[in-house]
């Protein structure tokens, strides 16, 4: 299926292209926009970006594989990034990771059995003074304990579950 960007996002792309002297420079922001809409960077997204910016698809693919924030396969509605670098590790990140693997029933890069969460390991997220921390979607959750993280996840799971049900109902 061919990927197309929503009309209002196309307007953003037009504005983006005025910011740089080359079209190629819009590659990273455009991929972010596409990922926000599609949930991941599918081969169709790569084709679309390559056409939109007049770049070889191989070049776009090279960019996608270089950066960790582009999902190269579909992910769950919520992505949980556990910071595993030194400052967080010294304050219990490993326990958080172990707990999440157990709760979700999957390892890093896997998706929870209920399909609501994808678990990822992150390198330093610049929140060392509030360690340990995880990033869930756009939000930082800092100074965590296993219990505090569980409460946050329960809350997100309830909201995501309700949203999925209501959209199914409509469909």
């Amino acid at each position: 299926m061919t990927f197309t960007l929503a009309a209002e996002s196309e307007k953003i792309v037009d504005e983006l292209l005025t910011r740089y002297p080359t079209k190629q420079a819009a590659c990273l922001p455009l991929l972010h926009l596409c990922q926000r809409q599609a949930g991941w960077v599918s081969p169709d997204v790569i084709q679309y970006v390559s056409r939109r910016l007049e770049l070889p698809a191989s070049e776009v693919q090279g960019v996608v594989t270089f950066y960790t924030m582009y999902h190269q396969k579909p992910v769950a509605p919520n992505v949980v990034w556990v910071c595993r670098t030194l400052s967080c590790e010294l304050r219990g990140a490993r326990e958080l990771q172990a707990h999440l693997e157990h709760r979700f029933g999957c390892h890093a890069n896997g998706t929870s059995k209920d399909g609501l969460f994808t678990l990822k390991k992150a390198e330093c997220l610049a929140a060392c003074g509030q360690a340990p921390m995880v990033q869930i979607n756009d939000d930082y959750h800092e100074n965590l304990t296993v219990d505090a993280l569980d409460r946050i996840l329960d809350d997100i799971a309830a909201r995501t579950g309700a949203a999925t049900k209501s959209s199914n109902g409509k469909g």
Partner: protein
């Protein structure tokens, strides 16, 4: 308790300090207005030179001098702000972008006027969602007021500021990798020369500065370069700066202080002391993970009066004021000035393994010594950790690290090898013992393993 200055951070405590109406009475954009309507570009650069501000991104290069290197070319120069904060242990720039984004935007405007740039890109790592939102809102507010645009403050010097989102790659904090990433390419560092000041973004001369460096410029103009510089406790390294402390301390966080505080002050006074009173300080990584580790028990040996550290002869390494030059003289680096504190319960093999995992994951892969070397270091350390190592692995780590140093396009390999060498040199015994004993040094993993055992035998979650 030390009295801490409040210059760069003077608006942090204002409620909703990111909104212009809340900080206007506190002088926001007054210096940018002065820079555009009253000052000549050369006069701005002269103040920044006199301020002795050393780049806040890690390398500590004098910022005023960097501005002076900008090549005269047909293409208009660019200003690029490096907000790809990702050095493990470093979390200072984020506080500026989240709590006082207008100070950074004002700094950008002044720097653009000084170097003759009309476009500025702030390259922010995409994980910092709040920083990006607040910066974009701040830019919009400044545009509405007529501070940014075709005629800022009614003058002819057009100035545009854009936020450019990264996509998750530590190496993009290296300035030439950042420029490639800005151009929409893979973030692989470029060969230097040409340096960015000659040929940078889109082939034009480019100044790349760290967030904190640029955000300090409004205060340098307000106070005057000399007065700003004299806030420091050290010569040729001026001003106040952001310090960070994380790891095993009671009160981790970011605070502002004069250049030249000591690690002892940072850990025991500002950081509130060690997290567990019964676990004394074992080691401290002074300024982000690429800076070699220091031990509190090591004493400065500088009997000759000509030695740069002579004033601290016989004192502990953590009693030396931390500055770009003093840390270099100690065989480490100031880096980003964000310390990671490690207590006596921690295995340095675990610390090394955690850091080398980071570097092997983040190496861009262009240069063989770095791509392979960082992976080998991690493999050797994993073996040591898992009880499959040998005592001579300590020498192997040194050999691999030495083969990485200076053999690559950018400083990433050096930034990997230096902390590795420092760890083996200062804690050699732990690496040899791990090799001899095999299993048994997993202090970081012990609690996690206990938890795993408990939960796997304990039935459903």
């Amino acid at each position: 308790m030390i009295e801490l200055p409040c210059v760069l951070t003077n608006r942090y405590r204002v409620p909703q300090s990111w909104s212009l109406r809340n900080i206007e009475s506190l002088g926001a954009y007054e210096q940018a207005k002065r820079a555009y309507t009253q000052l000549e570009p050369a006069a701005i650069t002269a103040e920044v030179k006199e301020a002795n501000i050393r780049g806040r991104g890690g390398a500590g290069f004098p910022a005023g001098m960097k501005w002076g290197f900008l090549a005269k070319a047909e293409l208009a120069p660019y200003l690029v702000v490096n907000a790809d904060e990702g050095e493990p242990g470093t979390f200072k720039d984020r506080t500026i972008m989240e709590r006082d984004p207008h100070r950074l935007v004002e700094g950008c405007l002044i720097a653009m006027r000084a170097v003759g740039a009309h476009v500025c890109y702030i390259y922010v790592r995409c994980e910092l969602v709040t920083s990006i939102r607040r910066l974009e809102a701040a830019i919009e507010e400044a545009r509405e007021r007529g501070y940014i645009g075709k005629r800022p403050f009614g003058t002819e010097h057009a100035a545009e500021v854009y936020v450019h989102m990264g996509a998750g790659a530590y190496v993009c904090g290296e300035e030439t990798a950042l420029l490639n990433s800005l151009e929409g390419k893979r973030g692989e560092p470029r060969l230097k020369p040409p340096f960015p000041a000659v040929k940078g973004a889109f082939g034009a001369p480019t100044i790349v500065n760290n967030v904190e460096t640029v955000a300090s410029v409004p205060d340098i103009l307000r106070m005057g370069g000399k007065a700003w510089s004299e806030q420091s406790r050290l010569p040729r390294d001026g001003g106040t700066r952001l310090y960070g402390v994380s790891g095993h301390v009671k009160k981790p966080g970011i605070f502002e202080g004069p250049v030249g505080l000591t690690l002892r002050e940072i850990i025991y006074e500002i950081g509130g002391g060690m997290l567990h009173p019964d676990r004394p300080l074992k080691a401290v990584i002074p300024g982000g993970s690429s800076t070699p580790v220091l031990r509190p028990g090591d004493l400065v040996h500088a009997p000759e009066a000509s030695h740069p550290l002579h004033a601290w002869h016989g004192k502990s390494h953590i009693d030396v004021p931390i500055g770009v030059d003093t840390m270099r003289a100690l065989g480490t680096m100031l880096g980003t000035c964000c310390a990671i504190v490690i207590d006596s319960s921690t295995s340095m093999v675990d610390v090394a393994c955690n850091l080398m995992k980071f570097y092997s994951h983040e190496s861009c892969g262009q240069c063989t010594p770095c791509r392979e070397g960082s992976g080998w270091l991690h493999d050797v350390l994993k073996n040591l950790q898992a009880g499959r190592g040998r005592p001579e692995d300590a020498d192997l780590l040194v050999e691999i690290a030495n083969n990485m140093m200076g053999n690559t396009i950018c400083a990433f390999a050096d930034g990997t090898a230096m902390p590795m060498l420092g760890l083996v040199q200062k804690f050699r015994n732990e690496f040899v013992e791990a090799g001899k004993r095999g299993v048994g040094t997993h202090t970081l993993g012990a609690t996690a393993r206990a938890l795993m055992t408990r939960t796997t035998t304990g039935g459903a979650p």
